[in-house]
Amino acid sequence: MRSFLSKQCDAVYVRKSWETESGRSQQLWAGLAELGALGLQVPETRGGLGMNEVDMVLLLEECGRAALPEPFAETAAVAAPLLASLNDCAEAQSILSAIAQGSAIVTPSHEINPFVSDAHIADFVLLSRGDEIHLLKRDQIEAELQESSDPCRKLFKLRWTPAVGSRVAAGQQGRSLSDDMLNRAALAVAAQQLGVATRLTDMAVAYACEREQFGKAIGSFQAVKHQLANVAVRVEFARPVVARAAFCVATEAAERSVAVSHAKIAACEAATAAAKTALQVHGAIGYTWEVDLQIWMKRAWALDKTWGASRVHQARIAAALLGGEAAPSFGFSV
């Protein structure tokens, strides 16, 4: 995946995506399908690999490292496993095969986000409202483009009319799927943030080794290298937290919501710290349009606020801890 993305989704491609109308490449999407990445969580009976979140987070980290603009996380890591759980919905099952083949893009919509990403190219929107889940075709929605701080992200305000025909789950099942959507999406964000943070750190280290001041590379000065070391530690400490959250989601562990929130916070803190430090290390040139640093900084900031900002996830952890609900098994000391 890293080798594929390093060639197919380099900084030149990402910058080009800012200028095209859709901002997306069908060729790149087809490549992801050919690689088997889109079908990673699609059941084998539907032409996928039937793998789980523990495997998926590794691919998502690479997506973050490459700043992939395509809605890979939305379709392959969030929508695919949710659709797979809708055993009674024939349409959902048929979409799974199309996802694995690269012929269907599905984007999730949840009340926690005001906007939906990639609604302009999505064949379907899997929409959570209250205790209902709706599966909407593109012609059943109106999408109004919204500006994003990250020009790669195509965000839309949706208008749609609820209909019984589009409803695929309700009541307890709907609430459960809504929670599942949030957990999977927040986990996907956390995994991407690991890649974003790693890339930012790598860029900052490379620049610190190259840029000289007072006759030495600036990376040799403690004031610089200690900051970079601190970021590297944050990233490495966030990685097992994300892996644990992936395992919890894969095994449907009771504490999965807490584990996911922990991962979202840890990975987003690592990524935003990496963005701040990388910018400081680069100095004024880091602010310029020509330097690619902005691609990953903007991604770090944008992902930080999506699928629940840190305070939302802190509140989820606090509720679980202070509510006394199985707190000791989480390994937290209260």
């Binding site: 080798s3 594929f4 490549g31 050919e34 690689l35 088997g36 990445a37 990673l40 690999l49």
Partner: protein, 250 residues
């Protein structure tokens, strides 16, 4: 049709290579190892022949340390059917060619495809030596390969000074792949999973009855001299003076 193809374990070309402290090799710690890029092209071509022929088998071979299993798994993940690893240390090109001959005699392939050279030592010898030892026709540095319908020969286009040369070799033959032969595919995730279960045979070089005593001994290695920074001159006259008096190239 059976195609035998090689996969040498070499340092990633993007790795920073440093000479080790004893000066007789490279520092291996922290290096990422990959399939020799020319061998990767050879594997891709073997797979394309297989896909075109339908009933072909691709066997990927590596000769070197036991860790070369990783590179063989890459070849299997790309689509090769099975792998053979011949383990041995301190094998020079002559020893590798003799071992490869033994494997060819055991497998009786219709075509052997190797990379034109390995990017670690750039020797560009194993393919030619192997063909010579086997008494097979060889087509080196090819940029296009066409197998005849009756599978009795292969038409190979090779780059030569000032143009392209097309030759026909009867099969079995040995072919070495040049850079422009193809663009290797990525190993897909299903391919990687299938590769875990594909057969990988291990053979010790010593068991093949080949004299592997090195004919080449590396006496010392040294990094190239550091490149000095360039200088911007103010005028053409100053440039000419510098080229005459400093660089002494005019």
């Amino acid at each position: 049709m059976k195609i035998l193809v090689t996969a040498k374990r070499v340092p990633d070309p993007e790795s920073t290579i440093k000479v080790n402290s004893s000066g007789d090799g490279i520092e291996e710690a922290g290096i990422k190892w990959v399939v020799n890029p020319f061998d990767e092209i050879a594997i891709e071509e073997a797979l394309r022949v297989k896909e075109a022929q339908g009933d072909a088998e691709v066997v990927v071979v590596s000769i070197g340390p036991s860790e070369a299993q990783e590179q063989l798994r890459t070849g299997l993940a790309m689509g090769a059917d099975r792998a053979i690893l011949v383990t041995g240390e301190n094998l020079d090109t002559s020893a590798v060619a003799k071992i490869l001959v033994k494997i060819v005699e055991k497998e009786s392939p219709d075509i052997v495809i190797t990379g034109k050279q390995a990017i670690d030592d750039d020797s560009n010898e194993v393919g030619q030596m192997t063909a010579q030892l086997l008494g097979w026709p060889q087509a080196t540095f090819i940029s296009e390969l066409k197998i005849a319908d009756d599978k009795s020969s292969a038409e190979c286009t090779r780059e030569v000074d000032g143009g392209m040369e097309t030759i026909s070799v009867p099969l079995p033959a040995l072919i070495t792949a040049d850079l422009r032969l193809n663009e290797p595919r990525y190993a897909s995730l299903p391919g990687i999973m299938k590769a875990r279960k594909k057969p990988l045979e291990q053979i010790e070089a010593a068991s093949l009855g080949v004299d592997t005593t090195p004919k080449i001994v590396i006496k010392s290695m040294a990094p190239p001299p550091a490149r000095e920074a360039g200088r911007i001159v103010e005028s053409v006259d100053e440039l000419v003076t510098a080229l005459q008096s400093e660089a002494k190239v005019l």
